[in-house]
Subunit: 196 residues, 2 copies
């Protein structure tokens, strides 16, 4: 159906998250009809990003400079570190523009089921960073069993260093209706209720 | 949020059909975490396809050889041409493996609203091909007003050449429930009813 180049392109596009064989075919077709304006720029952007972007040696964020733009930004509060599971979580917090400290990307959570132990996570560099004038570590891990286990385990490691350890609140999402929420979220929101 | 390379990549991915800013970010992140196995192969596939794939000079299909694999396949029935609006339609028919003749890609439909006239479509080469031993032309155009207009107009041009002109049937899609179909489809299916 158009030769090996097209088949290969569709196969690779179909592996992108959110894409399937059908949308990959549509995307390939759209691009093939405008190779110079759509296809070659994307090919260049992919090659450029693959070449330039590396994990930040301080926090684990992905950036084309090292240390990353956040770690290198002198306006950010260096006394607070927000610990996240992955770079996607860091991006989400940055988009929300609600946090002005530094980050630390853990690279996952502890998971007995998946065989992820402490040695698989970016923990030791975090402990070293915390000892360099950090006063608070915010654990912004997912509200999953593994996330909670990891938060508990990290708290035990961080507390002896004399730093305040906090966790992001769990509760009703802003804009969320109560009747569509699961029992666990409702229970957490009720437990963590505050004076109105 | 990671430098200009990442921003640019996300912007280009978000323009793909079926993708938006959110899925583009997810795709970019997934690829950035495996640059050598995911990103560079896609960059290469895009560049290869952009270089190799061209419209077939006979039928308008996209392929890395010219004439395309279908036009060049001696096992296909050269007496029947199926006329489609776009390459996506041709791909859909090929996936279904129900047609074993040749194709002709029109490149759109006549549209007064969008200002598409006969001179904007790949019509003259079709008339030339039809005069070279073709006995039937199947019009597989969309069941839209523009599709029907184009089918009517093409029939008028093709009939004088002494060729049989047919159109694909309209009716209830296989697996489709009647109660979710629009009135137009129901009316067409009823009009085109056949002995059971």
């Amino acid at each position: 159906m158009g030769g090996p180049e097209i088949e290969r392109l569709i196969g690779l596009l179909a592996k992108l998250p959110g894409m399937g064989p059908r949308s990959a075919r549509r995307a390939a077709l759209r691009m093939l009809q405008q190779p110079d304006t759509r296809m070659l720029p994307l090919a260049t952007a992919l090659a450029d990003a693959a070449r330039a972007v590396k994990p930040c040696s301080v926090c684990g964020n992905l950036d084309s400079q090292d240390p990353c733009a956040i770690c290198g930004d002198s306006r950010r509060d260096r006394s607070v570190i927000c610990v996240v599971e992955g770079v996607g979580d860091l991006w989400a917090l940055e988009r929300a523009s609600v946090f002005h400290g530094l980050y630390h990307v853990l690279g996952g959570t502890l998971s007995a089921l998946s065989g992820v132990g402490p040695e698989d996570l970016n923990v030791t560099p975090l402990l070293v960073r915390v000892e360099q004038g950090v006063t608070e570590v915010i654990l912004a891990l997912g509200a999953t069993v593994d996330g909670a286990t990891t938060a508990h385990w990290l708290t035990d490691r961080l507390k002896p260093l004399g730093v305040t350890v906090t966790r992001v609140a769990q509760g009703v999402p802003i804009g969320g209706a109560l009747d569509v929420l699961d029992d666990g979220t409702l229970a957490a929101a009720l437990r963590a209720r505050r004076p109105s």
